[in-house]
Amino acid sequence: MELRVRALETVLSEKGYVDLAALDAIVQAYETRIGPHNGARVVAKAWSDPAFRRALLEDATKAVSTLGHVDRVGDHLVAVENTPERHNMVVCTLCSCYPWEMLGLPPVWYKAAPYRSRAVRDPRGVLKDFGVSLPKDIEIRVWDSTAETRFLVLPMRPEGTDGWSEEQLAELVTRDSMIGTGFPKTPGAPS
């Protein structure tokens, strides 16, 4: 594969379509700028600031754009809130749509057949694969990302975090808790 990719790169460069340095810069930008830390800041802010939480649920693109330290998310971001009655889970059954700016590039399992096939039909079984279980009476809402809308799950704030700063709270927010295949870390539990 390495050789085949290099061959195409060489052709694109020799034909004057792309500067190889620009490809390096794209890879570097992905490696350094995006990742779940962006989403974690948004979640921690929503847990700390009721006005921001309301704004986020109303129009996530707009709300996130007010946070200077998070990269531009473009349009079409929707935040969906977990409650004691409802758990949200996000999938893209058709390809691999995922909120890159909030969570980084998706992990392999998110893009692979087992998750894409089962999340819409047996989400509790999928959660079991992650070692997570939900009481039977809690509604599960699965969001299939079939268009350019991107979904960010707003997990429930863990108990025992009264008075915590946004920075402390952000440490508890896992990538999977923002996809809906996990929960935030429990305060004081070994990580």
């Binding site: 195409l8 340095a21 998750y115 509604e139 079939t146």
Partner: protein, 219 residues
């Protein structure tokens, strides 16, 4: 197209296996493939819907047995050949042999990198008033286009409820095949588990898709 990429509800793929401490790229070439797709797309060689259509069009056995970024590479090669940007022989030999075809936005340079890091905007002016509103019961139409569509098979023919109107957006079915943006209203439509999966469904399951207006009819 009714391809193997349309996986919702299929059986037999096994457990979801997460890799602990997964790196962003497993090999150097994965990052290069991602960068080439983003750069050539931003330079105007293709749009996101066309690139999805080419990946879906890989032979089913290739699609199912290739890693994610291998699919991206194979789709990219096919697309660049089909659009006349590179020749098959050039890829095989690893060198340019023919004159370049002009790119709509010109050569992709380091100055263009910021452009690919910001997400595209897909909202457009509507061509007609919206037919549906939140609360309306709608049926996903029984459509089987041979070309690209974002209406998954598992909802076709089933009845759901409109939850939200996202405005008019680029219509992937048109954009993927070079038929223009043809903006259409986009709605989140919610289905009950039992409506899609029958009496054995998880009773507390609801599934939503984002569906363009041409995918829907009044129920």
């Amino acid at each position: 197209m009714n391809g193997v990429h349309d996986m919702g509800g299929m059986d037999g793929f096994g457990k979801v296996e997460a890799e602990p401490n997964e790196p962003m790229f497993h090999t150097r070439w994965e990052g290069r493939v991602l960068a080439m797709v983003r750069a050539m797309g931003a330079a105007g060689a293709f749009n996101i819907d066309t690139s999805r259509f080419f990946r879906e069009s890989l032979p089913p056995h290739v699609y199912l047995s290739s890693s994610y970024y291998k699919k991206w590479l194979l789709g990219l090669e096919d697309m660049l050949i089909a659009r006349g940007y590179v020749g098959k022989k050039e890829i095989a030999e690893g060198h340019a042999r023919e004159p370049a075809k002009p790119l709509r936005r010109g050569r992709f340079t380091v100055n263009d990198v910021e452009r690919v890091m910001a997400r595209g905007k897909f909202g457009r002016d509507a061509q007609a008033p919206a037919k549906f509103k939140a609360g309306d019961r709608v049926r996903a139409r029984n459509l089987h286009p041979l070309t690209h569509t974002r209406l998954p098979r598992y909802v076709r023919g089933h009845v759901g409820v409109v939850e939200r109107n996202h405005g008019a957006q680029v219509f992937p079915d048109s954009a993927a095949i070079g038929a223009g943006e043809n903006p259409q209203w986009l709605y989140t439509v919610v289905f009950n588990g039992a409506e899609l999966w029958g009496p054995d469904s998880d009773p507390a399951l609801k599934i939503s898709v984002d569906a363009f207006e041409p995918y829907l009819e009044k129920a």
